[in-house]
């Protein structure tokens, strides 16, 4: 296969940035999208040109590093991360537009690399159970109903890639924050700090410049882990409840 790429190039945060055209030949169906870019980067380096910078690491869909807008869709045409997008989903001669995540809270650092440290700061605001190492009681002292633990796991599997923000017209981080809040909120371990947590994390999310939710569910549609937008409703209930009647 031969593909025509229009790739976003931006030397640094202050650079205006522009699209650059490249043609990649010899693309095979079993190649991953990132491997296709590896091939292009090898070619650029052989010509003494700067390779395209992009975040990637595990290349098996779990670390959440990769983050590309492919033809206007976060992570590309199929469900899953960019690294788990395979070239069998593209056709010979197709033009592919590759952009970084676009959001005020995710400034572009270089080419396709954006700064997602806002996600870390939101979690630092309260995304934990305050327990020190040592002295925890036996794990089975605290029975957790299977359904709750399954539901908590549905939320906890968020990989923090930021596709939800990139896909949202408001650049809202509600799905991400809701997943984090719900994971702990559904478990008995998370109850003592439940009100404090949701209030602090939502406040931090707003402070970081993410938008609000207007129920478009684009986030759920692109989430590589298919995290349900129902968690947003759950977080809203939690937040309102905590504002009116704090659990602590």
């Amino acid at each position: 296969m031969k593909l025509h790429l229009k790739v976003w190039r931006q030397a640094g945060p202050q650079d205006a940035g522009r699209f650059e055209n490249h043609t990649v030949e010899g693309v095979t169906p079993d190649m991953s999208f990132l491997e296709m870019l590896d091939v292009l980067n090898d070619k650029l380096l052989a010509q003494g040109k700067p390779p395209i910078a992009f975040d990637h690491d595990c290349r098996e869909g779990i670390c959440g590093s990769c983050s590309m807008m492919i033809n206007g869709r976060a992570h590309g045409p199929t469900r899953g991360t960019t690294c788990q997008t395979y070239m069998r989903n593209f056709t010979d001669g197709q033009t592919v537009v590759i952009e970084p995540w676009r959001a005020r809270a995710f400034p572009v650092m270089c080419d396709l690399v954006v700064d997602r440290s806002a996600f870390d700061r939101i979690q630092q605001a309260g995304g934990y159970v305050s327990v020190n190492t040592g002295g925890a009681p036996d794990g089975n002292c605290l029975p957790v109903p299977k359904d709750n633990s399954e539901k908590a796991m549905d939320a906890a599997q968020c990989i923090g890639c930021g596709a939800c923000v990139a896909a949202c017209k408001n650049a809202s981080a509600m799905l991400f924050v809701a997943a984090k809040v719900s994971h702990l909120g559904l478990l008995p371990q998370g109850q003592p700090e439940r009100s404090r947590r949701v209030l602090a994390m939502v406040a931090k999310m707003d402070e970081e410049g993410f938008g609000n939710c207007t129920n478009q569910y684009e986030c759920e549609a692109v989430c590589p882990k298919a995290i349900s937008a129902d968690f947003i409703a759950r977080m809203n209930r939690d937040q309102i409840g905590s504002t009116l009647i704090p659990a602590e």
Binding site: D57, C58, R59, Y86, S130, A136, K146, H183
Partner: protein, 636 residues
């Protein structure tokens, strides 16, 4: 050099308690005067940094990823072992200890492994308290599954994402300390050198991967938790960014590298499809609980798997190892798969693959149960290969997965350099010549939560806190790092570092992979200097002065892999026996099993940098078995 393990004397079960009583403490008010640098934020680094900060120390953490949460521990799928005996199936600390020692083919320290088994129980409790959503039974109790190399069910799990959930637990504890100001986090920073002052580890040199600035950081102790060196084989299940640079540059400064030839090949990975391939994807070992591994009995049988009748299939693990069957340990299962493919009975394009078939399990348990147990793994498989494993058997083949070898450490996890602690996969300590499934997560968290906080405290109690970076040693290290980067950029060649990496990796895999021989290793040792020479002449590195430069980062790592491959091959060459994952073709039994040589090789090989152009120097730590009698490791 005399290598002292510092393992306490006395009965096995009392050693760790005795050691804890012997170690010194630091007064709570004095703790805040100390500063510890932790490099790497996976399970070992993340848990250690959080626990040290909880004690009251100042901690700085560094990782090359954009967030501590992305370290490669996150990719561990199957689970974490703990000797809880919740199943009443005869598990105990002793049994986990024995399984691990035997699994490691009697090449690990008794005292270390026993301690690991002891603290395994605390780890589960700690993680539950943090809110890790472990799988539960309907009664609300923790669920278990079984894993290779064990006949009890002691593996705790969170679907197929156990590493992710445990890492997010450690990361949440770390975040709490960052919020309280006791941990300073430095993501997108890569460690490029260790700084020693008067023979003691006192700091590191890092590169800010965003600005390109070289920075000096000083501390009263340095912790390396930088993972393994799997990508020396190029293709592996490791992340693309995993590298040997931090540990290898510590080696260059005098830290000993132990047992580098003990590299684990995981039996269940998705087979290679082409040259462009950048990594291999693991399919969790837990799949072997319900999947059956087979190949056609006749070579070059091209029929569809469902067209091959039961009688014409060879379930080779069940046949060769009836008591462990499909749950035989990783090294044994991998070699059996290689053997089948070498005999021409492999499946798929290229014939390097075996079937992992769930048809029986689906018939027995129903598709919903299988989906609940392995749903995300099946989905991942289908995504990558385009085949539906509920209908067609998976095709799998072994791939490089984990490194038992690493920097040498004593019982207190300190390297031979005072003040340099090494945790998790980066050290060599607990898995001997082969690691059992679900034991890496256990070891990383044991080191970080329950061992290092005690032993680092003991070390700090003996040092005067506070040292600046305004020392000639820092200037020298900084200049050295700058020199390497300039040399890479000055090559102005025409070939990307990736091309060299691929070439090196293929060579290391072919000559020093699942099977090694004197001839293959000597061939490898002849080829490495030739690659190195071409690399430094022809590597193409973008010549930007500052800012982000991923090409420069990568080229530096490949340069270290090339040099490290020599140490790896030298170790494999001098260990003239087969044990665990290290299979020397010259040393095998009549039926093709590893022939271990306890009389001559019951030691840890610890390699010291011999200096520019010289071969590494071997030091031996002899292993004493006081409580276990090493026996032939049979899973038949």
């Amino acid at each position: 050099m005399q290598l002292e393990s510092r393992a306490p004397t006395g009965p096995l079960a009392e050693k760790w308690d005795r050691c804890k009583m012997e170690m010194k403490l630091v007064n709570p008010a004095n703790k805040r005067k100390y500063h510890v640098l932790v490099v790497g934020t996976g399970l070992a680094g993340g848990s250690c940094a959080a626990s040290l900060a909880e004690l009251g120390y100042n901690v700085s953490v560094f990782c090359y990823q954009d967030s501590p949460r992305r370290a490669h521990s996150i990719a561990a799928q199957g689970g974490i072992n703990a000797a809880k005996n919740y199943r009443n199936d005869g598990d105990s600390v002793e049994r986990l200890f024995l399984d691990t020692i035997k699994g490691g083919d009697y090449r690990s320290r008794e005292a270390n492994v026993y301690r690991l088994a002891q603290v395994s129980r605390n780890i589960i409790d700690q993680c539950v308290a943090q809110g890790v959503p472990f799988a539960r039974e309907y009664g609300g109790q923790l669920d278990n599954r079984s894993f290779g190399g064990a006949q009890v069910s002691r593996t705790f799990y969170c679907r197929g994402q156990t590493g992710q959930q445990l890492l997010l637990g450690a990361y949440s504890s770390l975040n709490r300390q960052i919020a309280q100001g006791r941990v300073k986090s430095h993501p997108r920073h890569e460690m490029l050198d260790l700084v020693m002052v008067n023979g003691v580890a006192r700091g590191i040199i890092v590169r800010d991967m965003v600005t390109g600035q070289i920075e000096r950081h000083s501390g009263d102790a340095v912790v390396l938790a930088t993972g393994g060196y799997g990508p020396v084989f190029y293709l592996s299940t490791n992340a693309k960014g995993c590298n040997v640079t931090a540990t290898f540059r510590a080696y260059r400064r005098g830290a000993l590298f132990a047992n580098p030839c003990f590299t684990q090949i995981h039996p269940t990975c998705i087979p290679v499809t082409g040259d462009y391939q950048s990594k291999l994807t693991l399919m969790s070992e837990s799949l072997r609980n319900d999947g059956r591994i087979w190949v056609p009995k006749t070579p070059a049988d091209k029929r569809r798997p469902d067209a091959i009748p039961e009688g014409e299939r060879d379930y080779f693990l069940e046949r060769k190892y009836p008591s462990y069957g499909n749950l035989a340990p990783r090294d044994i299962s991998s070699r059996a798969a290689k053997e089948a493919c070498d005999a021409g009975r492999g499946v798929g394009d290229g014939g390097r693959g075996v079937y992992l078939d769930f048809a029986d399990a689906i018939r027995r348990l129903g598709e919903p149960t299988i989906r609940e147990r392995y749903g995300n793994l099946f989905e991942m498989y289908e995504h990558i290969t385009g085949e539906n494993p509920y209908k067609v058997p998976m095709r799998i083949y072994p791939a490089v997965h984990y490194c038992m070898g690493g920097l040498w450490v004593d019982y207190r996890l300190m390297s031979n350099i005072p003040g340099l602690f090494v945790l998790g996969e980066a050290n060599f300590s607990d898995h001997g010549a082969n690691r059992l499934g679900a034991s890496a997560l256990m070891q990383g968290l044991a080191d970080g939560y329950f061992v290092a906080p005690y032993t680092i405290t003991d070390y700090l109690a003996g040092v005067k806190p506070g040292a600046g970076t305004d020392l000639p040693e820092f200037a020298e290290a900084e200049a050295k790092v700058g020199g390497i980067m300039r040399r890479l950029q000055d090559a102005r060649g025409k070939t990307s570092a990736q091309v060299f990496h691929r070439e090196l990796g293929k060579m290391v895999w072919d000559q020093c992979g699942m099977a090694r021989s004197r001839a293959s290793l000597e061939k490898l040792l002849r080829a490495i200097p030739e690659i190195r020479e071409r690399f430094w002449k022809d590597v193409s590195v973008p010549a930007t002065a500052g800012g982000m430069n991923q090409g420069l980062e990568y080229a530096g790592r490949v340069a270290d892999f090339i040099d490290f491959a020599e140490v790896l091959a030298t170790d494999a060459l001098t260990r003239e026996e087969s044990c665990g994952a290290h299979f020397r073709e010259e040393y095998q039994t009549e039926d093709g099993e590893a022939a271990r040589n306890d009389a001559e090789y019951s030691f840890v090989s610890a390699w010291q940098n011999g200096g520019e152009g010289n071969a590494p120097v071997l030091h031996r730590e002899h292993l004493k078995y006081e409580f276990v009698k090493p026996s032939v490791r049979s899973y038949k």
